[in-house]
């Protein structure tokens, strides 16, 4: 069983999956538009949540949030289901595929054999789509890859029931109903308002306040934690920014592409300028990551100590905050 599926490689798996599923259902959408309407841009420094004993920093909204918001804001019907039993989860998948329905799934990257071994890591919120089955192999549209791939049933079952943080619990989802046409403009306005609101929320750990808070913490890490542990914390932050998921800079670039498309849909040319500025903010995040990586590797140059890194981080927050305030004023 196999349904023709419009596979496209994208930068971010969740946005790519929703964009490809909608395109399959006759509603062409770019990854950037899905990310933007899904309100994907976010920042949170959550030191009380520890992964491998190190504080969690997130540069995007919660896993599943983009899918939920895109479908809700565009009036798209979905069916989502979690499972306790892998056999039941695979049987349900087969049932949908037998009816010609492509199915999105949350999986653990580490257990997907089509990923080159060096690129596998323990990340349990990776999204992909099954669109067919040949014998014991599933045909997979994994947005990370340029072409569809094949995955054996036993491997897919293991990936769907990976253990640990963000365990997928067999989660699968599919589109059950779509409107005749997408009315993007109200959804875009709503999503921009949502992103601006969450990034300026009056909580010290999230949004631009969270970036400032993290900068203050980072500056004090060497004194508080000692040099060795401070570098461990910094390395973890850089990895979370540029390795886990799409990366802090990367999400800013996708949001910039969304603003560019939004300018066209809303007929608002000022969004083009903000799009360019958001790209520049993404570059600032990446410069911070590079300086941090150099520090961790013991090859820091002048102007790359913890104080300098904190200043770079504050600048990311300031630029992003100023940009989002202007953005909010355009969609009131």
């Amino acid at each position: 069983m196999q349904t023709p599926f419009p596979h496209r490689q994208t930068a971010h798996c969740e946005s790519g999956v929703i964009a490809n599923l909608l395109t399959h259902h006759g509603l062409p959408m770019s990854e950037a538009m899905a990310f933007g309407i899904g309100g994907g841009l976010f920042f949170g420094y959550l030191p009380f949540i520890r992964i491998n004993g190190l504080p969690l920093t997130t540069f995007r909204t919660t896993p599943g949030g983009i899918f939920n918001r895109v479908t809700k804001r565009l009036g798209i019907g979905v069916a989502c289901k979690n499972f306790k039993n892998p056999d039941q989860a695979m049987a349900e998948l087969d049932s949908y595929l037998g009816r010609g329905v492509p199915v999105g799934m949350q999986t653990g990257v580490y257990w997907l054999p089509y990923f080159p071994p060096a690129l596998r890591f323990h990340f349990n919120a990776h999204n992909m789509i099954a669109f067919g089955k040949k014998g014991d192999d599933y045909l997979i549209s994994d947005p990370v890859f340029p072409e569809p791939v094949v995955c054996a049933a036993s491997d897919l079952a293991r990936a769907r029931f990976a253990q640990g943080a963000l365990a997928p619990k067999g989660r699968m989802y599919c589109i059950t109903a779509v409107p005749k046409a997408l009315d993007l403009a109200p959804a875009i306005r709503q999503s921009i308002r949502g992103v601006c609101r969450s990034m300026s929320a009056p909580f010290p750990l999230i949004g631009t306040r969270g970036i400032r808070f993290l900068a203050g913490q980072l500056e004090r890490w060497p004194a508080r934690l000692g040099d060795r542990r401070a570098i461990l914390y910094l390395g973890n932050l850089i990895r979370m920014q540029e390795e886990i998921g799409t990366g802090g800079g990367g999400f800013r670039f996708i949001f910039a592409a969304f603003l560019q498309e939004a300018a066209d849909v809303l007929g608002e040319s000022r969004l083009l300028d903000l799009s360019q500025r958001m790209t520049a903010v993404g570059d600032l995040w990446r410069e911070f990551a590079v300086a941090g990586a150099r520090h961790c590797k013991g090859r820091a140059g002048e102007g790359e100590d913890f104080g300098d890194l904190a200043r770079m981080l504050r600048r990311c927050g300031e630029e992003e905050g100023a940009l989002l305030r202007e953005l909010a004023s355009l969609v009131r």
């Binding site: 930068a11 971010h12 060096a118 850089i238 990367g250 990446r286 990586a293």
Partner: protein, 99 residues
């Protein structure tokens, strides 16, 4: 460092862009191992089998070095994972973006 000994045999030569990229990586990440031309074009760039001995923190620097030297963005980590598989995949990505 693990993987340092896995360098190219005489049968596999780097093309000019791959050679240039290899030199850029050695310079950017201050690799003290093989000569640029000794790396196999398909050898993993990042990870335990990398002949350069690079990890994901080095990957961040390589992404930015590519952006600065070739004016080409590798915009997302999931893309960069694939692009940074080897000198060959990195060179192919740069050529595809230049065209």
């Amino acid at each position: 460092m693990l993987g340092r000994m896995r360098v190219a045999g005489e049968c596999e030569m780097l093309d000019s862009l791959e050679q240039e990229l290899s030199e850029m990586i050695i310079d950017t990440c201050r690799v003290a191992g093989p000569l640029a031309a000794e790396i196999a074009p398909d050898a993993p760039l990042i990870g335990p089998d990398s002949p350069y001995g690079l990890d994901s923190l080095d990957a961040v620097e390589i992404v930015v070095a590519v952006q600065k030297n070739y004016q080409i963005r590798i915009e997302a980590q999931e893309t960069s994972r694939e692009v940074l598989q080897s000198l060959r995949s990195l060179a192919a990505y740069i050529r595809s973006q230049q065209n």
